[in-house]
């Protein structure tokens, strides 16, 4: 993380506690949102959006990704691409007409 002197670390600690508060609020929000009377696709969209925001906060601030070296960012971009391929694999079944 950029700036590792004592004053910077004290600043970081304030950021960590703010992020902690945000994560706690988002957790309560996602539980409340699950009781909303919406369609299942809307519920999935809402839950995954909140989860993605929470994950970004953890990765960005607790894991210091926002200030991390490019090498790591590129490794993660590559990983994300392959992760996306994995997630899209089940869609093959939607176009597979075998046995219909």
């Amino acid at each position: 993380m950029s700036g590792n002197n004592q004053a910077d670390i004290q600043e970081h600690i304030k950021v960590y506690l703010t992020i902690f508060g945000a994560l706690a609020v988002l957790t309560i929000l996602t539980v409340m949102a699950s009781y909303l009377d919406v369609s299942s696709s809307e519920a999935i969209f809402l839950a995954l959006t909140i989860a993605t925001i929470k994950a970004s906060l953890v990765a960005g601030y607790f894991m210091h990704l926002i200030t991390e070296k490019q090498t790591i960012v590129w490794i993660l971009i590559l990983t994300f691409f392959f992760f996306l391929v994995l997630m899209l694999l089940p869609l093959i079944t939607a176009t597979d007409q075998t046995g219909v």
Binding site: Q6, T27, L48, A51
Partner: protein, 199 residues
Amino acid sequence: MQVPYVVDERPDTGLINSKLAIWIFLASEVMLFGGLFSAYVFLRMAAPEGDFAYWGSKLSIPMATINTLVLITSSVTVVLSWASLKLKDFEKYKLYMGLTLLCASIFLVIKYFEYTGKFHHGIYPSSSTFMGIYFTLTGLHGLHIIGGMIVMGYMWLPMGSKLWDTDPDHFTNRVETAGLYWHFVDLVWIFLFPILYLL
């Protein structure tokens, strides 16, 4: 033998070796859990209408919500333990790392009650497709919690933390590396919680 570049950054990568290594390891972990998340999507798409929602409703949302908050808290305490070392405050490090281990233990105890509660009602991984993927995903995640506890427990106990006396920078980097792994375990749970309990 000393592992090279655990304190000074390697000139070509601009990183210490342990940090690059843990990120590559975490990338492989993304694919491990990604495969199972993909399986979840596949099974959900193939399941009869309402089947996943029916079995999912048998899980305890309050317990999982508390566990989510416990894991988030542990993520903060582990990063604060690293920050304490940066501030040269070893006592605070011990406190925050101890709290992290406490949170991890609470998480496992709650998980234990969740699992045994299901078994008492005759619900096992073989009961349904949903329960199969539920126990697989949470079981693998639970194993990651145990793995993290072993590493962080070692660094909390005197046998692991004595490195602080001889090479504080090396020890601080070890804590940061373990912390990165721990945040990832938290990150996986952030997605497991809604897809298993809420949807």
